[in-house]
């Protein structure tokens, strides 16, 4: 009981420390600055931010959103999903299908109805699941619905039969692996290994123009901020508190009378939808979606972003994702061979020495400061476990 209490204490404490509002402000200011520096400054100016940097930042923010999705379920509900890459990729594919249809007759074979890869597989008509994807709103609906439905189905089955912990993690991994194999198949109708690429425009705006790129970047930043605030709010509601109670003692929560599986399913669906949105924003910015996104390693990497930032803090997950990916970009440029060593060591060291991630470290340091000033006894903030 006492551990539950202290856990709850530590949760609300760290939550109080996570400073969502200031973070959102910083994020939006940086976004606004970068965007205007790209569009308004001349190219030879010192303050010019290149389009390369903008797309890079956009990509990081999509990853950050994905990390947010994982943090919502792992940090707050203790569900370690090793298959979130699947929801991300599904959202991406939904967006990719829309963008493919937008190409119209500008494809290499000039077929107004069929994407190039279908012409080349000798398909005569559009498969049923491609119907309607030329409508933006349908595609956007699919971005939410497909990951959401899959998560609902999977969650409903899994949580109802109380598949938890390690088993659940392995099952999610199997799920994304099965999807990986399926999407590799050319018969599936998603372009096989090559995936979907060569996009031209979105809603009539040229994807190669700087304006569109910056707009996409800004939308990503706004979306991330919005989802961050929303997630924070959800966690402060009664629903969120039950979620945390489930994390800390599922049986107890169940004995009290909560239908824990329902709570978990809906949180899982919410998280999958965030991942889907992240994927949908990712695809137009990087210009390709292919089955590689389903690979189990990608999903595990997401978890490490969250772990590095500090799980159960939302802001931490976002910072973790941005930092690790920035390090990756830099590292792979300097010493490509060393990156996997560094990533591997990060996994080990973070789990061993930083169970609460960077945010936990910050909180710890602050505690120590307070202690030094007030000489108060340590209130054991770092004892929580998921």
């Amino acid at each position: 009981m006492s551990s539950l209490l202290s856990n709850f204490m530590s949760f609300s404490r760290i939550n109080g420390d996570s400073k969502v509002a200031p973070f959102v402000v910083v994020l939006l200011v940086v976004t606004a600055l970068a965007s205007s520096c790209n569009l308004l400054m001349p190219e030879d100016s010192v303050f010019y931010v290149s389009t390369y940097t903008i797309t890079l930042l956009g990509k990081y923010l999509c990853y950050a959103m994905l990390a947010l999705a994982v943090d919502v379920i792992w940090g707050y509900c203790g569900i370690l999903s090793l298959g979130h890459g699947a929801f991300f990729a599904l959202g991406g594919y939904a967006m990719g299908m829309y963008l493919m249809r937008q190409i119209g007759d500008r494809g290499v074979y000039g077929n107004p109805e069929l994407p190039d890869f279908m012409v080349f597989l000798n398909w005569s008509e559009l498969p049923w699941f491609w119907q309607g994807m030329d409508q933006f709103w349908v595609a956007m609906l699919m971005v939410l619905l497909v990951p959401g439905l899959l998560a609902y189905l999977f969650g409903w089955l899994a949580f109802r039969s109380r598949v938890t912990g390690v088993y659940l993690s392995i099952m999610t991994q199997a799920l994304t692996y099965a999807l990986l194999l399926s999407f590799f198949r050319n018969e599936m109708g998603f372009g096989g290994n090559n995936g979907l690429t060569d996009f031209k425009d979105i809603l009539g705006f040229d994807l190669q123009s700087d304006n569109t790129r910056v707009t996409l970047f800004i939308i990503t930043a706004l979306m991330l901020s919005g989802l961050l605030v929303l997630s924070k709010k959800i966690m402060q509601t009664r629903f969120g508190k039950v979620i945390v109670a489930i994390r800390d003692g599922e049986s107890r929560a169940r004995f009290i009378g909560y239908r824990t599986e329902n709570y978990k399913v809906w949180l899982f669906v919410y998280s999958a939808m965030i991942a889907g949105i992240a994927g949908a924003l990712y695809v137009p910015q990087v210009g390709i979606i292919n089955p590689g996104e389903f690979s189990p390693i990608n999903s595990i990497e997401i978890v490490i972003w969250v772990a590095v930032g500090g799980r159960g803090t939302l802001v931490g997950a976002i910072i973790g994702a941005i930092l690790v990916n920035y390090a990756k970009t830099k590292f792979t440029a300097i010493m490509p061979d060393g990156w996997l060593f560094a990533l591997g060591a990060m996994f080990v060291l973070v789990t061993l020495y930083l169970p609460k991630g960077l945010m936990g470290l910050v909180a710890q340091l602050k505690d120590r400061q307070l202690q030094n000033v007030n000489n108060r006894p340590n209130d054991k903030a770092e004892e929580g476990h998921a």
Partner: protein, 428 residues
């Protein structure tokens, strides 16, 4: 507050990296190298990166190009397809390279292509591929299907009297296209549908028991049978092992492969494989002065006397030579000028004879068929009479038989429909 510092720190360092671009002066010609140095494709691509570096070094020893030194800019797209697009953009805008040598898989090329076309870059792609593409910004120095698959099938049909065909491949775009072309080609040659068996397996497939046993029973129908293999990379070792163990020797059912070269064989015990075939434009075992020189240069450069050379390396070599010639001809590294100067360029093949750059950005090269030897090398058993011009759009696919690529005026188009006289799908 900490967060604020972090974020602003990131923003600052990004700014710094932007700054450094404008600080760089243009006193060298920059050659971008876009090959995966980590991840699954590193096995194959690292070799090509080293080849480019070797060529750059050699060119610099000769005094560089247009009086300037060449400078190689190496990036690592880490076998991650979206990263190919990102790194291409990095090379083009941040490093401002004049040319890129890179990519191996089709999907990596497809990923980089829109960026190349948007920023008007120039890339040399050195690997055999499925065709069905011709971009203004890419030169394809590897083999198109008609420079590898079709001659190989001709050889099997005419010289070995093969009547029954197994088309086995990994399930991705290159095998799919190649097999489609071959299927149409074989049918046009009068092969009945029941004499063609098509099979696709996933990447890295390791359990070949059932498939090999199917091939065996397919091949025991009394007609000479051959396997045309577009099986990729890692899946080959277990495939050949299973063939050997199930007692299928090259005299019974020869396998001709399009993705197995010297480098792949170096990871394999080749004894059970002797007599199986491969079709390429180059084999290390071909005897010519240029090849001897290239091999010894390569061994010296890598410091490893056991390193082998292979076809994509020759393609890189030819591409690089032609690019230097074209730059000299154009007198500038400007992409548009070099692109036009490239067409009609000739350079010596490592196997003797001349390679010629056609209007469709594909090379004319000889095609060789080699048999695997027990030392991991190939022995040429057949070659085409002259050179074969690479065909960007296959004549055997219904979607592309009317398409041609011609980058000279007045057509200047990568996919020009000769029936409707229109040009489609261009991004420039």
């Amino acid at each position: 507050m900490k967060i604020k510092h972090l974020v602003s720190g990131i923003a600052l360092s990004m700014g710094a990296s932007v700054l450094s671009i404008s600080a760089m002066a243009a006193d060298t010609i920059k050659v971008g190298v876009l090959h995966s140095l980590s991840g699954t494709m590193a096995i194959s691509e690292t070799t090509l990166k080293d080849t480019v570096l070797m060529m750059v070094e050699e060119q610099n020893k000769k005094g560089g190009l247009l009086g300037k030194q060449l400078e190689a800019v190496v990036v690592d797209p880490a076998s991650n397809w979206p990263l190919f697009a990102e790194k291409t953009r990095e090379l083009m805008t941040k490093d401002q390279v004049d040319v890129i040598f890179g990519c191996w898989t089709s999907v990596s090329r497809k990923s980089a292509l829109p960026v190349l076309e948007e920023l008007n870059g120039l890339m040399f792609y050195p690997v055999q591929y499925e065709g069905e593409e011709s971009s203004k910004n890419v030169f394809y120095t590897g083999a198109a299907p008609n420079q590898q698959a079709i001659p190989a099938v001709d050889y099997l049909m005419n010289d070995l009297g093969v009547k029954r065909w197994v088309l086995a491949g990994t399930d991705y775009v290159y095998p799919r296209t190649t097999n489609k072309i071959l299927e149409a080609y074989l049918k046009a040659k009068g092969v009945a549908a029941e004499d063609i068996m098509i099979n696709y397996t996933p990447f890295g497939h390791s359990d070949w028991q059932s498939i090999v046993s199917d091939i065996k029973s397919f091949g025991s129908a009394g007609k000479k049978t051959a396997v045309v293999s577009t099986i990729n990379g890692d899946a080959n070792v277990p495939f050949y092992k299973e063939l050997g163990n199930q007692g299928i020797s090259s005299e019974d059912i020869p396998v001709v492969a399009f993705s197995v070269g010297e480098e792949e064989l170096s990871g394999l015990d080749t004894k059970p494989l002797v007599g199986h075939l491969a079709a390429w434009n180059y084999f290390q075992s071909v005897e010519s002065d240029a090849n001897d020189a290239f091999i010894s240069q390569w061994k010296a450069f890598t410091g490893n006397p056991d390193r082998v050379t292979n076809d994509p390396m020759e393609a890189t070599y030819i591409g690089f030579k032609m690019w230097t010639q074209a730059v000299e001809k154009a007198g500038t590294t400007d992409v548009d000028a070099v692109e036009q100067a490239m067409i009609g360029q000739e350079t010596e093949n490592l196997t003797g004879g001349m390679a010629y750059m056609n209007k469709n950005h594909h090379l004319s090269k000889p095609v060789l068929i080699g048999e695997i030897q027990d030392d991991g090398q190939f022995e040429v058993v057949w070659e085409t009479e002259g050179v074969v011009p690479g065909d960007a759009w296959s004549d055997f696919l219904p979607g592309s038989k009317d398409l041609i690529a011609d980058w000279t005026a007045p057509i200047s188009c990568g996919n020009y429909n000769t029936v409707t006289k229109t040009c489609s799908g261009q991004n420039y």
